[in-house]
């Protein structure tokens, strides 16, 4: 399994037709491309709402650790690592899952732009420790959780 094919699958889902089952209900009346966009929009709306909701509950104050962004980014890295491995290597419950839960939900649940702006604001305000510690912790923990998701998807038998 090389990076090319995984990259291609990640962005185009080209293997889904061979792995997937017939779509049910309203999705079956759409073309493959339309159903894909619908799945991404549905997952994207849910992921965005989850992130926005957490940002409202845990508002980020200047000079403090951005817990909401930190938590959604780590959770999304873990879920996506698990999901893509599971879909690629073990089973494909539906050809729309990759787009709904991966591209849509995990993609929208996590955010790179807010992460960068928060880091920039730490640096601009002179919080040098946070300006270095926040990205380092996010990337280190994000990588660790992505790897954990992949490994659990491979080793798990019933989840």
């Amino acid at each position: 399994m090389n990076t090319r094919s995984l990259r291609a699958r990640l962005s185009s889902g080209e293997t889904d037709e061979t792995l997937g089952q017939p779509a049910a209900g309203v999705l079956s009346r759409l073309s493959v491309g339309q159903a894909r966009v619908a799945a991404i929009m549905a997952g994207g709306a849910i992921g965005t709402l989850a992130r926005a909701g957490l940002a409202e509950v845990l508002p980020h104050r200047a000079g403090q650790w951005p817990w909401a962004t930190f938590v959604v980014n780590l959770a999304g890295a873990f879920i996506l690592g698990w999901l893509l491995t599971r879909l690629a290597e073990r089973s494909a419950p539906s050809r729309h899952w990759r787009f709904f839960a991966g591209t849509g939900f995990c993609g929208a649940l996590t955010t790179f732009s807010t992460f960068q702006i928060e880091t920039f604001e730490f640096a601009r305000d002179g919080h040098i420790g946070l300006a270095i510690g926040y990205p380092v912790a996010s990337i280190a923990a994000g990588m660790a959780l992505a790897v954990a998701g992949v490994l659990i998807a491979r080793w798990g038998r019933h989840w």
């Binding site: 090319r4 965005t48 980014n73 996506l80 955010t111 807010t114 960068q116 990337i139």
Partner: protein, 123 residues
């Protein structure tokens, strides 16, 4: 506090952002095939610039919520950045993995800062 309509706006623009990310990532990957995950980088940099402009321009809370948290947040992605890096490590491309991490981080920071000052300048 934000109203129900604002939440619908956040969800809608988040959904649009997710589709825009998919479209642009697919287009970049198709035109410039590479082991390096360039599509995600292009998405994340353009989104960071856009959010920088919004924050720099000190838009109202509601606009920042709908366009920043909604669109820019739904458009850019941290999870794909991490999982694509993990894939590079798994296939032994450690140099590409490290480059993907530091290049995305430093250019993302720089372009978010640039967007912020552009936003400040135009308001």
């Amino acid at each position: 506090m934000v109203g129900v309509l604002t939440w619908f706006g956040v969800a809608f623009f988040g959904a649009i952002g997710a589709v825009a990310r998919f479209r642009l990532d697919s287009a970049v990957s198709a035109r410039l095939p590479s082991d390096f995950p360039l599509g995600t980088l292009v998405v994340n940099l353009t989104g960071s610039f856009a959010l920088g402009v919004l924050v720099g321009a000190s838009v109202t809370h509601r606009i920042a919520f709908v366009l920043g948290t909604g669109f820019a947040g739904g458009y850019t992605t941290f999870s794909t950045w991490m999982v694509e890096s993990e894939r590079l490590g798994e296939t032994g491309e450690v140099v590409s993995l490290l480059r993907n991490l530091w290049l995305s981080m430093l250019s993302g920071f720089g372009i978010a800062a640039a967007g912020f000052y552009v936003g400040q300048a135009i308001t």
